[in-house]
Symmetry: C3
Subunit: 349 residues, 3 copies
C-alpha cells in the first residue's frame, strides 16, 4: 500500500502540515522508522524521540505539531488516528470461502455458504455457523454451539457444547469456552460431590478474547460476556459471571463465580475479583489488585504493595505482621501522653 500525506489526512479526517505529496509506504515506531514511514506520538514519554526520528511523517497532537519541524498529520487523538492508519495500510484480505477436506463436520450441523474452515477442524452435532465466519486449524466446536456472522476463531480454540458466540468476535488460540464451572459440595466424608454444570456461555458482538483464556459455562443459566468487551490472554472467568458492555480486562485477571462487572470498567492486569460481588459501571481497578468486596460506585480502586529493595522489604513486611499491635501501642501512648498533659495543665492552673 502507498499513500500520500494529503490522502491519509483526507481518509482519517485530520489536518496535516508539510509536503502534501510525501509518499508513505509503511508504519513504524519513531525509533525504527525510515524514509517512507509514518510514525506517531501518543505517549508524551516518547516525545524526545521526535528529534531523531527518520519518519517521513509523524501523527501528532496540535500542540506537539507546533514544536515539530517535519511533516505531520495533526489529530485530536493521535493514537486513534494511528490505529486507523494501520488499518489503511493493512486492509483485511478477502478470504475465499473454503472448507478444508480434512474437516470433520457432523451431518446435522448448519454451515453458511461463505465461511472459511481450516484443516482438522471438528464440528459436532447441531452446530450453526453463520456467513463470513473463519475457523482456524484444529478448532473443536461442541454440540449445538452457534457462531454468528464474521466471527473469527484462530487455531486450536475449543468451544464446549451450547456456546453462543456473537458477530465480529475474535477468539485467539488456546481459548476454552464452556468448560465446567468449579462447583462441588463438601460431603460428610470430606469428599466433594460434583454439581453438574448444565448452563452455557453466551458471548455478545464485537468481543475479543485473548490466547489461552478460559470462560466457564454456568451451573444454571448463562455466563455472559456483553457486546464490546475486550479480554486479554490467560484471563479466568468463572461460572455465572456477567461482564457488561465495553469492559476491558488485561492479561492474567481472574473473576470468580457469579460476580457481575458493570459497563465500561477498566480492570488492570492480574487483578483477582472474588465471587458473588457486584462491580459498578465505570470502575477502574489498577493492576494486581485483590477485590474481596463489591465496588458500588464508579471510581479508581487499588490494592497491593509495589517492589522495593529486598533488604528494606524484609523489614517492612516483618513489621506488617505486628501492625495491629503497633497501632494499639500508638493509641495507648497517645492516651498516656494526653493524660499527663491534662494532669500538668490541672497542676499548672
Amino acid at each position: 500500500m502507498k499513500f500520500t500525506l494529503s490522502t491519509l489526512a483526507e481518509l482519517t479526517h485530520t489536518e496535516f502540515k508539510g509536503d502534501e505529496k510525501t509518499a508513505l509506504t509503511n508504519i513504524a515506531t519513531l525509533e525504527d522508522a525510515r524514509a517512507g514511514d509514518i510514525s506517531f506520538v501518543s505517549n508524551p514519554k516518547y516525545k524526545r524521540q521526535l528529534q531523531s526520528t527518520q519518519a517521513s511523517v509523524v501523527i501528532l497532537s496540535a500542540q506537539l505539531a507546533e514544536q515539530y519541524a517535519g511533516n505531520a498529520l495533526i489529530s485530536k487523538d493521535p493514537y486513534l488516528t494511528f490505529a486507523k492508519v494501520v488499518r489503511l495500510f493493512n486492509p483485511s484480505k478477502k478470504q475465499l470461502a473454503s472448507i478444508h477436506p480434512t474437516t470433520v463436520i457432523d451431518e446435522t450441523a448448519t454451515i453458511a455458504k461463505h465461511v472459511n474452515i481450516a484443516a482438522n477442524v471438528v464440528i459436532e452435532k447441531g452446530v450453526n455457523i453463520q456467513e463470513g465466519v473463519q475457523i482456524g486449524a484444529g478448532c473443536v466446536i461442541g454440540e449445538n454451539s452457534s457462531i454468528d456472522q464474521n466471527t473469527r476463531l484462530n487455531a486450536n480454540v475449543t468451544l464446549y457444547s451450547d456456546s453462543q458466540i456473537g458477530k465480529n468476535v475474535i477468539i485467539h488460540s488456546g481459548v476454552v469456552i464452556g468448560a465446567d464451572g468449579f462447583g462441588f459440595v463438601l460431603q460428610d466424608d470430606k469428599s466433594w460431590y460434583k454439581i453438574l454444570q448444565i448452563g452455557n456461555v453466551v458471548i455478545g458482538d464485537d468481543v475479543e478474547i485473548g490466547a489461552n483464556t478460559t470462560i466457564d459455562r454456568a451451573a444454571l443459566g448463562s455466563t455472559k460476556i456483553a457486546n464490546g468487551v475486550k479480554i486479554d490472554n490467560q484471563v479466568i472467568i468463572g461460572h455465572n459471571v456477567q461482564i457488561n458492555e465495553d469492559t476491558i480486562m488485561p492479561g492474567g485477571s481472574l473473576v470468580a463465580g457469579s460476580t457481575r462487572i458493570g459497563k465500561r470498567c477498566q480492570i488492570g492486569g492480574g487483578v483477582a475479583i472474588a465471587g458473588h460481588l457486584e462491580i459498578a459501571d465505570d470502575v477502574m481497578i489498577t493492576g494486581r489488585s485483590m477485590v474481596t468486596n463489591s465496588l458500588k460506585s464508579a471510581g479508581v480502586y487499588s490494592s497491593g504493595i509495589t517492589t522495593e529493595e529486598n533488604s528494606k522489604w524484609r523489614r517492612n513486611a516483618a513489621r506488617f505482621r505486628s501492625l495491629d499491635k503497633m497501632a494499639k501501642q500508638l493509641n495507648q501512648l497517645e492516651k498516656s501522653f494526653i493524660k499527663t498533659q491534662e494532669k500538668e495543665n490541672t497542676n499548672g492552673e
Copy 2:
C-alpha cells in the same frame, strides 16, 4: 425428564411440604425460575429472592422452609440436594462405543472394547486405554501413558509420555499433563544447563482438572495428585509436587516444585505457594495469599491487602515503605515518654 415433588423427595432422601403431585421439568435459579421449575437456596444471601420466585418447588433448610409458604423440598444440606437433583434431571447419556476413523492410534497401543474416541485424536506407542474411557477431539496421548476406567478427557487435552491417569477422572480442554518441570542449573558463564525431567505424573481416581491447567512431570520420580483432588482452571502445578486426598484448588493457583499439600485442604483462587514447603492436612488458605513458609498445622491462613479507593491506597502503600522506620520512631517515642514519666515521678516523690 419429569418428576413429582414426592418422587424427588424419595430419590434424594429428603422431606417435602406442599402438593406432592407438583410436576417438575427443569431446574433454575430463584430469579430465572418459572412454573414447573425447581430451585434452591443454599447461600442465605439469596434468601430475599424467595419472596418473588416463580419456582414451583424450592429446596430449603428446615428453618427456611418454615418461613416459606410454597412447595419445598426440605434438606439438611440444600446445596447437596440441589446437586443431586441436577443429576436426576441430567442423567449421563450412554455413549455408544466408537473410535472415529480419523483417529491415529499406534499399533502397540492397547485400547479396551468400550471406549469413545473422537476425531483427530493421536494415541502414541504403548498407550493403555481402559473400559469406558472417553477422549475428546484433538487430544494427544503420549507414549506409554495409561488412562483408567471411565475417565473423560475433553477436547484438545495433551498428555506427555508416561502419564498415569486414574478412574473416573475428568480432564478439561487445554490441560497439559507431564510437560517438563522447570529445572536448570546456572553455569559459570551465566547460561542455564537443562536438567532432563525423567519422572512422570500420576493422577489418582475421581480427580477433576480444569481447563488450561498444567501439571509438570517430576524431575525424578512422580508428581502426584491423589484421589478426589479437584483442581480448577489455569492452575500451575510444578514438578514433584504432591497434592493429597480431597484437596481443592480454585482457579489461578500455583504450587512450585516439590511442595507437598496435605489432605482436605481448601486453597483459595490465585494462591501462590513457594517450592519445597509442607502444607498440613485440613489447611484453608484464603484467595490470593502468598505462602513462603510451611504451614504445619490445620487452620485458616491469609495474606494480601484488599482494594480501597486509589487515593487512599496511594497514601497507605507509600507509608508501607517506611513501616520499619515508623515502628522504630514509635518505639523511640515510647521510650522517651516513659523516661520523662519516670523522671517526673522521681521529682514528684
Copy 3:
C-alpha cells in the same frame, strides 16, 4: 544404560571416593534410591537423608563427602554434575526423519530433509522448517513462520503467522506464540477501536518455553526473546516486550507491553511487571512481587506480604487501611511530646 563409578567420574570431570567398580543403572532421589542407583545432595536441607539412603553412590560437595562413609562422586557443583549424569543415563533418542501422512503442509512451505513431523500437524503458506526440527501432533504453524535447526515443538503448540523461532528451542504443549497484542483505543462513545497488531515474535536460540505460555506479537516491530532465555508454564508476555539473554521466568509471571527486561535476570514465580518499564541486567525479583516502576540497577527486589493466621491477618490488614492516618498520628504525637519537653526544659532552666 550402565556406568561404573569411575567411568561416571571420568565423563563428568569429577573426583570420586569408594569402590570404582560400583555399577550404576539408574538415578533416584536419596529417599527413593535403591542399590544400583546414583543420587545427589545439592540442597543442604536434604542432607539428613544421607544417613538412610540406599543409593550406591551419592554426588556430593567435597565438604559433604568427608562426612559420608559411602561411595561418592565429588563435585564443586553437585547439582550440575547431577544434571550431566541424568543426560548420560538418558541419551536423546535418534528420531528417524518422518512426516506423518495426516500432516497438512502447504505446497509453498519449505521443509528440510531430516525433520520429524507428527500426526495432524498443519503447516501454512511460506513456512520454513530447518534440519532436525521435531513438531509434535496437532501443532499449527502459521503463514511465513520459520523454525530453525533442532528445535522441538511438543504437541498442540500454535504459532501465528510470521513467528521466527531460533535453534535448539524447546516449546511445550499449549504454547501460543504471536497472538494479537492487547491494543485498543477508547473512542468518544466509550467503545474500543482495535489497533491491528502487525508486528511479530522473534525467539532466539536455546530458549525454552513452558506449557500454555503466551507470547504476543508486537503492534509494530517485534516482541523479542533473546538467546538462552528460559520461560516456565503459563507465563504472559505482552506485545513489544524484550527479554534479554539468559533471563529466567518461572510459572505464572506476567510482563505487560513494551517492557524491557535485561540479561541474566531471575524473575520469581507469579511476578507481575507493568508495561513500558526497564528492568536492568542481573536483577532478581522474588516470587509474587508487583513491579510498577523501572528497576534501574542490579539487585534483589521484592514486594508482597506472606501468609499468617487468618485472625491475625484480618487485624493487620484492617490497620493497613489506616496506615497513613496512623503515621500522621505518630508524627503529631512526637511533635506534641517534643514541644512539652522543650517547654519543660525552658521552665527548668
